[in-house]
Amino acid sequence: MANGILKLIDKMKPTFSKGGKFGWLGSTFEAFETFAAVPATVTKGRTQVRDCVDLKRVMIAVIVALLPPFLFGMWNTGEQHSLAFGLEWGFWMKVWFGFYKILPLILVSYIVGLGIEFAVAQVRGHEVNEGFLVSGFTIPMIMPIDVPLWILALATAFAVVFGKEIFGGTGMNIWNPALLARAFVFFAYPSMITGDSIWIEGMTNHADALVDGFSGATPLALAADGMQAPSFLQMFIGNIPGSIGETSTIAILLGAIVLIWTGVASWKIIVSCVAGAAFVGLLANGLAEPGTYAAYPWYNHLVMGGFAFGAVYMATDPVSSSQTEVGKWIYGFLIGALCVVLRLFNGGYREGMMLAILFMNTMAPLIDWCVLRPSIRRREKRAVAAKK
């Protein structure tokens, strides 16, 4: 069987090589070829042997880490829908419903994003990079379930073209592409990503069939408006309205364990991000008058909205985050702090995590520059000493 696949590849290869009938699809063929089998390339440099980890493995580790919130999101989509419309569904019905609703989002995201990636790789004659395997999976997870597919397609295209390709592709981007997709929707179609009705499947179009008194508001909106938000425990478990993948802190923590254990994400960023949010939250709790939003217990911010998902999957994106180890502490802390500041003081938009991360993505090189300075200064001092 194994040799059969390799033989099939060998048989198809000439057709897709330069001069072959489909030579213009060379990069695309290569992408599938290296996907199927690690190529027979050997080392050329001085280091004669290499570790068996490659970028495909790194990316697949992130996908595995994304599975718990994804699976939970599937169930929760069904759960919220059945709550809103008063349906008495069993567990598997909810999961099936979620799968049925989320699948188109995933397909659109991958088809649009990978389509552009393959085309660009083909035009430039590059190998196709694996980065979008992760971005394409995360983009639907940070969207509301009711997002129209054409908006999702536009956002994905925007993120890939302006978030990645114009900078030179995977590894060169300044901002996290998935967050950029969300930011695009937020600024271009604000009505589609705010409000109370978008978080639950079918609510936008079938408001008349709702259970009496059902609002659909996210905990974030409830808390900000001074209403009764779900309990900490419920938000921690995640059976609440929200973007598809962001609601369950417990599922996200499972993913965090995978990311930290495999070393793909920096635990320093995650820990300092929580510390930053806790710091501002505690400060606000201490200074605020009782009853105001600022007095809302700080720990709830860690389980509401996109905080946990952002801290674990978005802030830790190695390309757009701070690259130095000390820098990671600063970068993470400021994201957490900024997120809670935005939530408390930005009345127009209650979710601070997206903007906090994008802003700190922009600032990350500056942080790294400051971290590099001491090392450079030690070196300059040695040079002065050498001259004497």
């Binding site: 194994a2 040799n3 696949i5 390799l6 290296t34 199927a36 089998a37 690690v38 190529p39 027979a40 390339t41 050997v42 080392t43 050329k44 440099g45 001085r46 280091t47 004669q48 042997v49 290499r50 570790d51 068996c52 980890v53 490659d54 970028l55 495909k56 493995r57 790194v58 697949i60 190998e127 990079n129 694996e130 592709g169 995977t170 590894g171 060169m172 254990w261 495999t262 070393g263 793909v264 920096s266 190695p318 390309v319 690259q323 130095t324 180890e325 990671k328 790294d368 590099l372 090392s375 030690r378 070196r379 300059e380 001092k381 040695r382 040079a383 002065v384 000493a385 050498a386 001259k387």
Partner: protein
């Protein structure tokens, strides 16, 4: 005795370590002196085909610094001058007459000054054994180094055990160290492995002995310099390998050029890896004669070739089966050429035949397991993505990715700021090994060094 503990680094456990016996003494038929062994040297040929040469007689010199020459390791006749494209000199092949007759030099008395010693080393071609940092090029005889640093152990996988290869040569090493000490304004540092208290070099006199503890690259002299006497702009530190000290010692004491040394023939493709006594420039064919190179079809049922590496598997040179042992090398590594394909290799949950530092594979479950390594790249080349990984295997005050990016963009000022003077390729070999983006780290570093040499000249 001070001990320096290094926490960063990585020991890759590889099958095929040489058994600690010298299994044969090679009397070579043909040897080669290759300009490519010597960084930044443009050769000027000093012999012609058919000339008879003695051991210690220069065969070519450095165009830029004519006083630096490179000698024949044996006596015999010049068999061939091998040239490549644009008549580039690739090697001078010498057919040995088996007599090992050396040019006779006057022995140098222990009270000799440094000028006399330098003249002797230059005349015999042994000056090439003295490497300077920055850049890792042959030292300039006019410099006064701020220190001389000698690493008395190899930490790279499969590399020769120096405690074995020089154990009967302590007197010669002492003579060489005494002579070299006259060149420096500072100290001579000799660094031994903390695990090897009985190192024959531990009892050298007139030197500072330091113990280094930790995983590879603790044995790399560049790493040791960074912890003992870090190099600033304008500093010069000299380094010599122990086996070259032996040769220098023989010259100074007896007036003969005798470059014979003990070399490890190791690697997972050798059935009976062991040590061989030979000379630098010995041919791979003769070196491996008598060793059993395993035919290997074990990897996924695909026939794989053999790679012959002069040096260790992390920073050696692929010389091929018709190649020659490099001037500075004390190891010949023989491993599998990894030109096979592995179906869904990256997607396997467990990939038991391969080692990875990444915990996404499960080699961490078997920390003592030794692996059959091969030269497969294990993936495609990508831009830098993962961060913080290089730092885990580089025990230096350097931000490797930033340095590499400065080199790629040819930003000389940044390269200086980020430490180009402190590194050579081999110090970052492990960075290249662990890189999931398969970046050619050593090549980039060497490009940076070439650029510095060009700009600073």
């Amino acid at each position: 005795m001070e001990q320096i503990r290094l926490h960063k680094g990585l020991d890759i456990l590889v099958k095929g370590e040489a058994k600690k016996v010298v299994c044969k003494t090679l009397v070579p038929k043909v040897v080669a002196v290759r300009p490519s062994d010597f960084k930044n040297v443009v050769p000027k040929l000093l012999v012609r085909e058919g000339d008879t040469v003695k051991a210690g007689q220069p065969v070519f010199g450095d165009k830029a610094r004519p006083q630096i020459t490179f000698a024949s390791p044996v006596s015999g006749t010049v068999k061939a001058v091998v040239r490549g494209e644009k008549r580039k000199l690739l090697a001078v092949e010498i057919a040995s007459d088996g007599k090992n007759e050396s040019v006779q030099f006057e022995p140098v008395s222990t009270s000799a000054g440094k000028d006399e010693i330098a003249a002797k080393l230059l005349a015999s071609g042994l000056w090439a054994s003295i490497i300077q940092r920055p850049y890792g090029i042959i030292a300039n005889p006019a410099d006064t180094p701020k220190a001389i640093v000698i690493s008395a152990f190899n930490s790279a996988p499969l590399a020769a055990d120096i405690s074995l290869t020089v154990k009967d040569e302590v007197e010669n090493i002492q003579a060489a160290v005494d002579a070299l000490a006259k060149f420096t304004s500072g100290k001579v540092y000799v660094n031994i492995s903390a695990g090897d208290e009985n190192s024959p070099l531990a009892n050298l006199k007139g030197v500072v002995i330091t113990k280094f503890k930790g995983p590879h690259p603790a044995g790399n002299v560049g790493i040791q310099i960074a912890h003992l006497c870090p190099i600033g702009k304008g500093d010069v530190v000299w380094t010599v390998k122990p086996q070259d000290l032996v040769v220098i010692g023989r010259l100074l004491k007896k007036g003969v050029y005798d470059p014979s040394r003990i070399v490890a023939v190791a690697g997972s493709r050798v059935k009976n890896p062991a040590y061989v006594k030979c000379v630098p420039g010995a041919s791979v064919k003769e070196l491996t004669d008598g060793f059993d190179i395993k035919a290997q079809k074990e990897i996924y049922d695909q026939e794989c070739g053999v790679r012959y590496i002069s040096g260790n598997i992390l920073s050696g040179e692929n010389v091929g089966e018709n190649g020659y042992l490099g001037y500075y090398d004390d190891t010949l590594s023989i491993i599998t050429e990894g030109n096979y394909r592995e179906l869904f290799g990256w997607a396997k949950i467990i990939r038991s035949k391969k080692f990875s530092l990444s915990k996404s594979y499960f080699s961490w479950l078997m920390p003592k397991k030794k692996y059959n390594v091969d030269t497969n790249l294990n993936g495609g080349v990508r831009p830098f993505v993962v961060t913080g990984l290089y730092e885990k295997v580089l025990p230096m005050d350097i931000y490797p990715v930033y340095l590499l990016k400065a080199i790629i963009t040819e930003d000389i000022e940044k390269m200086e700021q980020l430490g180009i003077y402190e590194v050579v390729g081999e110090d970052l070999a492990l960075c290249e090994y662990v890189c999931p983006s398969k970046v050619n780290v050593q090549e980039i570093i060497e490009q940076g060094i070439s650029l510095m040499l060009k700009e600073m000249a």
